[in-house]
Symmetry: D2
């Protein structure tokens, strides 16, 4: 047991940290950061910087052009990237591309990789993941999937509507989750610029960190050839799980970086700002909040590292990633909310980056399984009869 | 002891409730609700509706054209107004006008009332309250006031900078808090459209419910005649207290309405939306959140009513309004945050009004004294030697 | 709406306060306060004092010898009694006698009142309430009742086992809840000193405030004549509700007194004890805890008063008493737990009364419906379709 | 970075677990567990069992007869020992002996080790640590030390009073912290059975897990020869720190075991007990508590392991042990408190071990620095100007 970061990884951490500080943070006030996320133009500019720095898509395999990071290395690098609200965009490790790349590497055919994955790893195109649906469709409960794929000759014809589809506007291709007539689910790949796919509208969301924002997407007799099925027919729910455990852990990593950023901003303010006769942070009422931040950052990081290690050992990490998701989404949230409070009036305005992080982060307690679904899943596990030995 | 609402007040409550539901809520999606609050045009339209309904500026005295509500009646009516994000604007009871009207009635001269208060009560003009300053000026600690007023002949010459000045853009007049050369403070009245006053910029805030947003205001050799001093010279801190206790209680009232609204939206959703085999709210994980909401709304309302009663009895309500501020700003916040969670994806988008309320409400834990300042003040009171009996 | 305490009630409050301070608190260190509660001897001594002071069984009707307090008056007097761990015993308002007296007054026949209620109101005898059962019997879920009453001629023959029966050891009579063969439930009255009833053992509980402790009671062919049925056959569950709402509210009242006591002890310590250069309570970390105490005491009291008013208006107060139970049991607990923390080493020893209160109070979050059952019940109510208007 | 437990340590973990389950837990209901802890007789019996199992004093060096465990190995073994309320007593790793042994190994002379440490490691004698004093002496703030040691020839003469001295009754020797005339502090060793030392009384504490309970100890002209000074004169505060960081971490370890035990008991109950139509734990209201337990146990363990690793690397672990202390004492407490709630009536009685653990654990948030002192210390660190790079 040890918490050592190997020297090579430490160097990568340091490099990422410097890259973010020097090349990305200056863009945070760029007007091209809109209410629906960075514009494509800004994204391209940031991606180019990461490419030049050798930090683009670091989680992709070396063959594909990435750095082939394992889960622990991702924990280190993604936290650093997350230190800027634009870091994940720059490194091409933002949701949903990060998880889609992971899934595509694991499941896609060579032809599919050539067509979609390679340009995506190179930062040239983006993707979206079409899973969640409006009521009465699939939200936190995937079994309620309404979008239907019907076999028609060698093709599948897909009809349905999805929403909260991150990055839909501007995405080049979509991974579409659809129900089959036998009740199973399948994942399909499809270019976005075809008549059967419409981005009906952009949704006005609390966050502004995802390029393309969040869209409502409808499929009207979308015809997908059999060759564009992702993996095997009927295995959609299984692949969703393949994608989910690591994907939700990378959220924990990136948001940890943002929470640390907020904490650094609030701490600097608490050191400098005077009130009632001394520095703000010398008031226990404020200092204790900062101390709690430090503990919440600490336990979040430990939970991430532990789960990353389980995944690196080949474990599925179902329980561990559920725990990490709940622990991090709640602890990191507390950190950022406390930072707003410490900053006072400035905390609720764009005077610092903290208000932006605060708005961006709220959805983290909801997506990839709200806290309640994970608690339910953990509880169900506890309710199983214990094994003989313990 | 009783919790009866007199019949007449009950009728006013019912009338306000209907007015808000039928005439104001439909405007919530009006594009004239901008990131810096409702436009003046929208405000005027809403104010006209309240005037037509006989509900405008209800807390002003009857002589001035209001309904002369006491604090308890305000608790009832303001909660109803708060049920819409636009309700306080419509009724002319939003901050800072609501508190400014109260202060002006208590302290201003007849001439000042004629010139500023009357058109304000009629909803024709707006005001701002220039108190908080950028570092190293006065924030939560008023003793750090930097803006300086220097006597010059019969006039005072004011220099300084203020920020987080709600409603500054578009306000007709300002109440300005400034330090005197002897260290005391004085309040001054000044028209906003004069060379000595500049609204440097609008601040990008989390909230979008205040007409005119929040501005940075600077005073450059602003010359104020002695006749425009509000109340007595050197009594600024005392008047700030006069304004503060009731003003912070009206925040509790309005936000209670918004929290109740969020709770109603989330409850309706939890009744209708199915997940994992039953209605969302039948899951204890969700139902318990709604139950906690109900308890938080209940205790908030009780704390408000109690403090209103103390004020109506002629008490200063220092401790009571501090308690109400902390209890309400934290409990009402928990309510709205839980509603976001219950609503899931919809909670973090503009699909419902809840995300708007959530963003709008965050500053409530900060303005009019952050929770920490009130806890400190309550604690200081506890630390005084107890009286002989008790 | 007002929070006035009528002068007469204020005098009674003051009288009770003085009585507790001068005559009861000195007994708190009496060695006759055992791990299973005050001994009968000590109880008799305390009861005699309350009788002499005219404060005995104040909630009983005037005809029976009480003061005929309504719910609000109980809120005032019981809080004062609760200020000492022995106060409720002295005033004969401790559970379960307090609730049993209330139930007997409402439901018992004249003969039953003569035989059991009168001496009980006079403080001469005690009773117990035999409801909860060991697994798989009735705990929080009353529908699981296992104890069976079978009609046999004019009598009923009862068999079963009960536990957590407060005051069983030394009680003169029991109210027994039993299931009928048709699935309904009935309440029976029975003297404890008869062969069919055995107190198997005393349970070692965290609390030590109930005379007679908590016992395991078994009924072995206990024969109860029809005349000793309490109320009507088959109405047991309904009477349990009659008893419960007010009974759980009186818990809130008494424990509020104890929480206030703990707060006073901790506040006095925080004023006096020096650490790290100033009085303990001048450290915000401690002062904020005391401020939170004050707010928790405040909201608890308000929730009690409100529910008492609903009951005094003739309401059933189902929702209100559920809310009061959860609010008070959790808020008053937080108060006492914070007091332990403020007192440091002394908080976890018998150096002050606070450790005793802390241990005594833990069960309050469980009995008369654990918080979870009340939240579930509140949620179920929220899930009902709302009425047309609102 | 990895979380592997080496095979040898895993075997020791398994062995300890079995030992505790089979040989120690059966003693938990032994009547020799008194309100002031296990009797000496019971302790001797348990120690003999651990000795026979080769598990006695495992943290002592191999030379002295221990297993020479490093901090990480202690984390593993002490958690297992803590699974029984009597486990730490059996293994001779309970406070204060565990920490005293550590301190003695680090600082004592050979002669001192021969005389006191060897028999202590062998489990033959016990010690106490005389630090905390009644008001106005040293509590959480060590600088307030009142006990005075005055040089007199080659001896020191000590006068003062200490309280909360764990294990004082029955201890063979004491480590005494005293102030010198120059304001520095020194640690002294002294046999307890001499006229200058009096155990005035035992304190009635919430816990019952420490042999000898907690005593008030007074020194009346206690004469200590220079040879019995522990380490150097004037270095008392420094040695207190040497002792404290690891000592507080071992508390985290042992209590983690107890929290896990409580969680196992509550989980088993939640699996078996039916209520409202299904197993208790299938109610989300209960299941979520168990899920939260699992997460709190997880983060506690991770924080312990991390700090152990820092100490094993030679770090002082000041910040890390402060964080671990706060995280564990609060998270483990939440676990046990939730277990009480899940168990309902049984949770507040001796029907299960959980009520015992609950009472025993409360002081953990207070001793070795209350949460507030650690938060203050963490905050102070955050307030230091950050290093150039970060």
């Amino acid at each position: 047991m040890n918490f050592d970061i190997p020297a090579e990884l430490k160097a990568l951490q340091e490099k990422t940290r410097r890259f973010i500080a020097e090349e990305i943070i200056p863009f945070e006030k760029d007007p091209r950061v809109t209410a629906h996320g960075p514009t494509e133009e800004l994204r391209n500019e940031l991606v180019a910087k990461a490419k030049a720095a050798g930090l683009l898509t670091p989680h992709a395999s070396v063959e594909l052009g990435g750095l082939g990071l394992d889960h622990f290395a991702k924990a280190i690098v993604f936290e650093e990237a997350g230190y800027s609200t634009l870091g994940p965009t720059a490194l091409n490790i933002a949701a949903p591309d990060e998880g889609n790349i992971h899934l595509m590497e694991a499941v896609a055919t060579e032809a599919q990789k050539e067509r979609w994955l390679k340009p995506q790893v190179a930062g040239k195109i983006r993707s979206c993941f079409c899973m969640t649906e409006p009521d009465p469709g699939a939200g936190a409960d995937p079994s309620m999937l309404q979008t239907l794929a019907v076999k028609d000759g060698d093709d599948y014809v897909i009809n349905g509507r999805k929403w909260f589809i991150t990055g839909a506007t501007g995405a080049s291709y979509a991974i579409i989750m659809a129900r089959m007539e036998d009740g199973s689910a399948t994942m399909f790949l499809a270019d976005m610029d075809q008549p059967g796919i419409t981005v009906e509208r952009s949704m006005d969301a609390l966050d502004a960190c995802f390029t393309g924002g969040h869209g409502v997407v409808s499929f009207n007799n979308l015809r997908v050839p059999a060759a564009d099925v992702l993996g095997e027919v009927g295995q959609g729910f299984r692949y969703a799980q393949v994608r989910l455990a690591p994907a939700r852990l990378t959220h924990c990593m990136r948001w940890l970086g943002q929470a640390r950023r907020a904490h650094d901003v609030a701490s600097a303010y608490a050191r400098k700002r005077q009130a009632f006769g001394k520095a703000l942070g010398e008031h226990e009422g404020v200092g204790f909040m900062l101390a709690d931040n430090e503990m919440d950052l600490h336990t979040s990081r430990l939970a991430i590292w532990h789960c990353a290690w389980v995944l690196d050992q080949g474990g599925k990490g179902k329980n561990e990633s559920s725990m990490a998701k709940v622990i991090c989404s709640e602890a990191e949230w507390r950190v950022v909310d406390r930072c707003v409070q410490v900053l006072g009036g400035q905390g609720v305005t764009a005077e610092t980056i903290v208000a932006r992080i605060w708005s961006d982060m709220r959805a983290f307690r909801i997506y990839d399984g709200p806290s309640e679904v994970h608690r339910w899943s953990l509880a169900r596990n506890i309710m199983k009869p214990p094994k003989a030995a313990h």
